[in-house]
Symmetry: D2
Subunit: 354 residues, 4 copies
Amino acid sequence: MPGNTFGSLFRLTTFGESHGAALGGVVDGCPAGLNVDIAAVQTELDRRRPGSTPLGTARNETDKVEFLSGILDGTALGTPIGFLIRNSDARSADYDHLKNVYRPGHADRTWEEKYGIRDHRGGGRSSARETACRVVGGAIARQLLALQGVRVEAYVDQVGDIRLERPYTVLDLPSVWKSDVRAPDEAIAQRMTALIEQVRGEGDSVGGRITCVVRGAPTGLGEPVFDKLNADLGKAMLSINAVKGFAFGAGFDAIGLRGSAHNKMHSGGILGGISTGEDIVFDVAFKPVSTIAKAQGTVDRSGRTVILETQGRHDPCVVPRAVPIVEAMTCLVLADHLLRNGTARARDLAPQQR
Amino acid sequence: MPGNTFGSLFRLTTFGESHGAALGGVVDGCPAGLNVDIAAVQTELDRRRPGSTPLGTARNETDKVEFLSGILDGTALGTPIGFLIRNSDARSADYDHLKNVYRPGHADRTWEEKYGIRDHRGGGRSSARETACRVVGGAIARQLLALQGVRVEAYVDQVGDIRLERPYTVLDLPSVWKSDVRAPDEAIAQRMTALIEQVRGEGDSVGGRITCVVRGAPTGLGEPVFDKLNADLGKAMLSINAVKGFAFGAGFDAIGLRGSAHNKMHSGGILGGISTGEDIVFDVAFKPVSTIAKAQGTVDRSGRTVILETQGRHDPCVVPRAVPIVEAMTCLVLADHLLRNGTARARDLAPQQR
Amino acid sequence: MPGNTFGSLFRLTTFGESHGAALGGVVDGCPAGLNVDIAAVQTELDRRRPGSTPLGTARNETDKVEFLSGILDGTALGTPIGFLIRNSDARSADYDHLKNVYRPGHADRTWEEKYGIRDHRGGGRSSARETACRVVGGAIARQLLALQGVRVEAYVDQVGDIRLERPYTVLDLPSVWKSDVRAPDEAIAQRMTALIEQVRGEGDSVGGRITCVVRGAPTGLGEPVFDKLNADLGKAMLSINAVKGFAFGAGFDAIGLRGSAHNKMHSGGILGGISTGEDIVFDVAFKPVSTIAKAQGTVDRSGRTVILETQGRHDPCVVPRAVPIVEAMTCLVLADHLLRNGTARARDLAPQQR
Amino acid sequence: MPGNTFGSLFRLTTFGESHGAALGGVVDGCPAGLNVDIAAVQTELDRRRPGSTPLGTARNETDKVEFLSGILDGTALGTPIGFLIRNSDARSADYDHLKNVYRPGHADRTWEEKYGIRDHRGGGRSSARETACRVVGGAIARQLLALQGVRVEAYVDQVGDIRLERPYTVLDLPSVWKSDVRAPDEAIAQRMTALIEQVRGEGDSVGGRITCVVRGAPTGLGEPVFDKLNADLGKAMLSINAVKGFAFGAGFDAIGLRGSAHNKMHSGGILGGISTGEDIVFDVAFKPVSTIAKAQGTVDRSGRTVILETQGRHDPCVVPRAVPIVEAMTCLVLADHLLRNGTARARDLAPQQR
């Protein structure tokens, strides 16, 4: 069973390889009558775009989304919304030296062993470029969520060992986009930026943490026992490239706590798998990207050890550009659960509601 | 869309409230011809059973599974396997005082707000008792995995601030079940046990960490881009009661690392969402259970603050009894992905293979 | 991917072999707060029961349904509804002579070739006994539909070459259950009954047609382009044992018509895959059951031709007992689409609706 | 839950309105390594194209498919195959007079009532133009089926009251495409053509029947009890525009037969919901298209009766152009069930098979 569709009632299917003709996708289940602000979708896409922050890769893609169906004069028809993003700056030749070599820490080898074939150009479908389509889908989901006053905001909480000191409740989240590093504290953002530049200079990379905050989510989102809201958020985050961990509320810190203390803390906005109506707060851990400029030992297709020096264009730290992806996946999960929750009660089926 | 089915090709649907007539479920998709060892299923269920460890609740349930279909003379027919676990020691009257009160840290309020109705007896369906059915489904999945030499073992890695010092590779995992606390290091297990007993004496609870190790998994499991193996494992773990976090490989420690260092570490057995053939290793964080003997302030249905003293029977630390649940959910994910991976390549469709 | 689950939002999963311990199922997605009339469920089950009509098999099953979860004091909790029907009059020994023989026209051989194993006792899971669980699920769906004033009624329209002369609009549908043959015209019902008795006397069987009428269905049910209401109804009907055809509106008669004439006829209540608000009317064709008392030539497992004389207990014509099954599957489709339709419009997401 | 995805393991998602920017879709689950013959896909699309037969509409679309992903140098990567068909000859102005009028027999009114909004241009998404995407998906499925020697062929069996006399076994199916009407008997095809021309001259339309034959299908396809092969084929056919009925084997003729006679007839290639290995044969009934040149009474959005004279370009009989659509949907069902059947047996999970 293929794995390129996300969600059940609000559903995104994506396609596209990093250096193929185009990326794209289909949003199915967007309720009819939604006013779709296409410029706002493009704005979100621009935030993820290579080149959107000086801390990222030098690949230059305009990432212009073209909508092909499902929207008439700015209004959703209730039919599937097809969209397209052409690849333009695809320097496939940059990757010729990777045809027979597996990059360490990358998906090259596992994909080839699974499928028996691999698109070696820029990671093919395993490239994070694929997430552009998630941002498009998430941006539409966000507009649906806005109908109910739900706001989704993420920010960089940590780069390497530099972490924000204050919790999200005293941070100015809308200011996130002013900083290159996407952190809402100017002083610490500057230190994070300096660290990333230093790491880039060393030909290395560094990990980071993104925190996401959802305000205004209604109570009742989540479908136990398996499709708990936290379970679906966790899956969404773990499906993003380079993510190694997910935690909500006290997360891993809860291990060391007593129940009497933990019961008084913020639950993360989800209890028993269902949203409480409080802010939903969770953390996502990103590894340092595996592609680094430093020479590394690896193996080739014949199993021999070789030294690899990468010539592609890559981010020394993915978290600044991953912020809109975390938001997008969060919006997709919430929009899906908003629709799913609509069928939970028999009294909502009274004819006057339809 | 309801959320009581897990998996796509190997699929478990469960039902049952903590104090209703019975729990049960349906395993659909178990390949025909599998020899199902029913005694082995019961053994796994016994490990999760209340009373299986002196560190758990005093509720006494025999948790005897009855198979109703899908197996003939010990062999799977390829038809759905229905099963049942009767509730016997259901002292519903113990919960009368909770009819109008929401327990802090519990799902009582969120479930009632979602559904407009709540089974207050022992948490109803939000009780961890529901996980008994997952253990049954997981035990069948485990027998399927054994055909390919896949072994799934979990253990308690941490209770409160007491943590194992050695990595899984030098621990004697089969010895886990000798200790009440389900930890594979005798000396540390004793300290963990002492801590749990102390916490119980204080009328409190404490959190913990379970590590799970999968040996012998073939390469190729996982269906990018959304149904990555780590994403589905994460969802599975986060769907377990009291779980607050999931991490694989270096997990949250990866945040502080450089790529040059991280690339040399164990990946957790999954790259690009697909198993590498190495051991798969991940961590699950459990909060301290919310039900404690200590008096706590909470609210009742009319919104008034009240003091709650709990009289039910509960575990001061869930991780010992959660070990078989973590294993079961892992087995379900792997069995599902084993079947899903079977359709990834065209050459497997050659007629002689069928 | 296994095929024992029907529906997406209102979802029935069933299990059970004809001569195993029990049949049963899980209804997931029943909205919380629905008042479930269990006696009414049993009444529907009684209509399908062997022995419910003198025209059916002599097998005597009480078919008593036991609900195990999901309902508290007569109200749906929003959690999965598990249920059970024990097999009591299962004379497995009656089928010993079939262990190595494939009955002509039956699923014996195809199931064995698919799964490599077969439960030969009464057809195992391929027996129409499985449909008892559909009747339970459909009866709950019917109670949900009643909230919106939807009524589902089916009747026998044809047995062999004897057919009702008047359309459904001038028939007294509630009287269907007064006749053994389940036809709403007393004189023709008697002729149908006589034909069935004659065929039984000849050791043979005969086919029939059931017509189903849905009154009060709202407009808007159906999810194009693939999950059109007629497509899902057709699938539901074709999944019933012995069904060979499905048609709605003018059906196969439309082939010979001109558009100018057809446009003026009853559409069957569905246009473009979506219900129009008019009565929904469709026909289901049943073959004569393959099991007959007459000696027939067939093959055994070694491929040799043998003469088979069947000793099991069977219906000479399935349509009388299939009427509640047709109704049940129709109710399942409609309940599912009622819930699915609830998410079609953005304006239904305004906060006051939740 | 949206309805624009078909299949589970081999899965097609489509998008696009008749007069929007483009139609397109995503095939997910195509096994890696399949050699995809793109020219063959285009050939199938050409057969459905407006203008492919003189008996069809005068709308002129090149219907050139562009593949965007999932195929590298002619080989499937195992990643989703995205594709696009631009709309070129979309004379939207032709439909201005339909903005406020509902065409009789069409989906105009039901879609508007469901979604609260409607794309009036050429039927929007309810137009049969949508089926072009099914032909693309089906053409890829057909190439997968060819690996196992499965051949899918359909032909026009009846137009109005003119029907072929010989069964499919004595017809020359590969010759179907020589006749404009897609019927494999030259003399009768000429009579059918004459009838269609006559009906066109009268400003009217006429219904028809398509028969589909599958040769070489292995035994074992179909997943009882709900996803029987005949049930999924029926759903597939009934999801095609203008289809009013589906029957396999003896179909509705079985009603009048005795079991002793029916058991000796061709079963339609499916018993108990599973393919027998014999030819699979089924019939599809198409209504006369609702759009006719003749003036017709209908209603407008304000509920007033108006006289409608249609100026769009339409087919007087859909069956000639529907033949490739029937084939495509059949291929999609079979490819999906071929993959689904791959997980039915435990012994196929032995490591050497992977």
